[in-house]
Symmetry: C2
Subunit: 403 residues, 2 copies
């Protein structure tokens, strides 16, 4: 990307005007950080993208409504309890959580956004939450991004952060972000949360457009269409602290759009790589499709196939499963004109098996980054999505999550 | 079912006019039976239901065309090689397989149906297949149904057979059937094959209608909509050997329809219970839906959720995952009016958690038959589907299927 560079070790607080922290308030049994607080030094333009699940957690209903105003200043996130399927009491506790933050940081309650992740169907323990908020408030700092990243983890094995700087005509602007992974990415994602920040100045309506487009091509490429959890949320706050105003139609705005997508891509791929029990990041590419929607549907169907994912875990070049998954995606194509490569090795040409050395193929599949590339002969459209393999540890992690 | 009774130990050859066997021709590495032959003593009315996968194996293309004539007399099935993604050569070998059967049993080639199941992308070893067919031909017998059931197994842990007799006005008719399981039932079924026989006399067109309706409510309730493999096939042959002609509109015909559905249900549930690595049969019931299609979609989405299935394996009453899966099915409903029971224990009423004893619930989930019952408040429609839990063994079985 021209005019931009990644900020090594950067994250949520790399852009100017943002302070954050993460504390342990006692929701996680192991005493680790479980409450994140992000506070901007001024009112920000704000945008949000939310789960499409029919069952939506209280904080999703709450925060969606808030971001419709296009303004926010604070984000609070707890990990451990999802506050989903908790009825009116759950909504009251979500509101109480926002009020506690408002009081603790001295910001109008209207500007506080709330996210939760964890077990569904349990009420938030408000004593712990409130104490945690008051403990966190004085600790927020401009180098607190990493602590924040730690505090939103659930079954993630490591924190997920990224930041970059873009040289624009008006000066440098920065985009930072943090994300927490989903249990399994696809097809049945646990909660995925991400918060992005920027010090560019962008109108709320434009900010929402940029975020929606970026999420569609990144986070939504890690999940099945519609396969969002009760709590999934991506937020973007623009402080304007860099003193650079970006307007649609300019090259700088385009660079900003691209920058948001790059950060989202980094975080989305990090989520896929860190799927529960994952041993590798799997990139599924579908090309030669009649349209992008069809390419995406086929790519997601392959990426969600347990039979494909277990074969990839076992480094088994069982390409027939990829063909089967592609064929059941509901998108018509001519199977006699299909090419397929696994980890760079041609296994199908024009729909027919290509002889290959199974040991070499199996060795290639042992990489931590594996690409499954299917090329149709229907048109010019292509799409890519990301997933992970499916291991014993996935079953172990999920067989006794609440007991 | 009035006027009908299960035939203990019955199967494919319980109806009159059918002889069968299963032999080992060397496709299975362990030397077990891998070739099934069913021969009727006369030309039969024949019906077939096939995979909806875009990628269809040669025997599916071949047999579908044959059953359009409504007549057949012989079914040959091999296990071990699916003859899918094998191009023109695969079709030629499928035709050669039918010709070999025709010669071996002395039946016109037009009346031979072929099914294959196993690894995709490998050509049939015709020397083994042909030798197997010639070995099997003289062995077919009216008590060979069980050997046939053994010969079509792949990762099945036991054979699947059922038969019943119906007392009609014109005398007794019998329906028998055999099935082989799918690797995992849902969402990404390996090949499911089933062959049914009856000694009733039924017109081919009526036979097809009966089979299509029964499959829709039974075998298709074990799979995700469209999630059929490259080879899935269900066949029904009616010999008429009982000398009882059944015509639509009569009570006897209705009893026959019901009988076919009962046999399909038995076999479908047996397949679900024997899913790869399964420790239990899971019945997902969705009631109170606006329409049957919606109820079915929600039931299937729950039944296909890896997070739900791993929780059931772990006997973890993590009902939030059921709510999440229901919510992502794409069918609108009011989540605040939902009731949910796990293994008969109320866990959600009117969308809110009901306190329950987690140890009692976990113990109840240890049963080999577990029901997940979700009741919406949208209407009167309901649907049921069957699946299994998702265990370590599923991963083990599938991680190195071909290597």
């Amino acid at each position: 990307m021209a005019n931009s560079q990644f900020l090594e070790g950067g994250g949520l607080t790399s852009p100017q005007g943002f302070a954050a922290t993460g504390v342990a308030c006692g929701l996680k049994k192991n005493g680790q950080r479980d409450l994140m607080l992000l506070v901007a030094d001024r009112e920000c333009a704000a945008a949000g993208v939310y789960t499409r699940n029919v069952v939506q957690a209280a904080p999703v209903l709450f925060t969606r409504k808030r971001t419709r105003t296009g303004r926010a200043r604070v984000v609070v996130i707890n990990a451990g309890v999802a506050n989903a399927c908790t009825g009116d009491e759950g909504m009251a506790r979500c509101e109480a959580m926002a009020s506690a933050v408002s009081a603790a940081v001295g910001v109008s309650g209207d500007l506080v956004l709330v996210c939760s992740t964890g077990v569904i169907g349990r009420q938030l323990p408000m004593d712990l939450i409130t104490a945690g908020i008051h403990a966190a408030a004085p600790l927020v700092s401009t180098d607190g991004g990493h602590a924040a990243a730690l505090a939103i983890m659930t079954t993630d094995t490591h924190p997920k952060e990224a930041a970059l700087a873009i040289a624009t005509e008006g000066g440098t602007v920065r985009i930072g972000g943090v994300a927490k992974g989903s249990g399994m990415i696809a097809p049945n994602m646990a909660t995925m949360l991400s918060v992005l920040t920027t010090d560019a100045q962008v109108e709320p309506r434009e900010l929402q457009r940029v975020l929606t487009a970026a999420v569609d091509r990144t986070f939504n490429r890690v999940t099945v269409d519609g396969d969002t959890s009760t709590n999934d949320t991506v937020l973007l706050l623009a402080s304007g602290a860099a003193g650079v105003r970006l307007q649609r139609g300019t090259a700088d705005f385009a660079a900003f759009e691209e920058g948001v997508e790059v950060i989202c891509t980094q975080l989305a791929r990090a989520i896929a790589r860190d799927g529960e029990g994952a041993t590798k990041l799997v990139t599924v590419q579908v090309g030669g499709a009649a349209d992008i929607a069809g390419a995406e549907t086929i790519a997601r169907t392959i990426a969600n196939s347990p039979l494909v994912k277990t074969a990839l875990f076992g480094n088994d070049p069982n390409w027939g499963r990829v063909m089967m998954a592609a064929g059941r995606a509901g998108v018509p194509f001519d199977p006699t004109r299909v090419d397929l490569d696994l980890a760079g090795i041609p296994v199908v040409r024009s729909g027919q098996p290509v002889p290959f050395d199974i040991d070499i193929a199996s060795a290639a599949l042992k990489a931590t980054d594996v690409t499954v590339a299917l090329t149709l002969a229907e048109g010019e459209a292509s799409a890519e999505c990301w997933t992970c393999d499916f291991s014993y540890d996935y079953v172990r992690i999920n067989a006794d999550y609440t007991t």
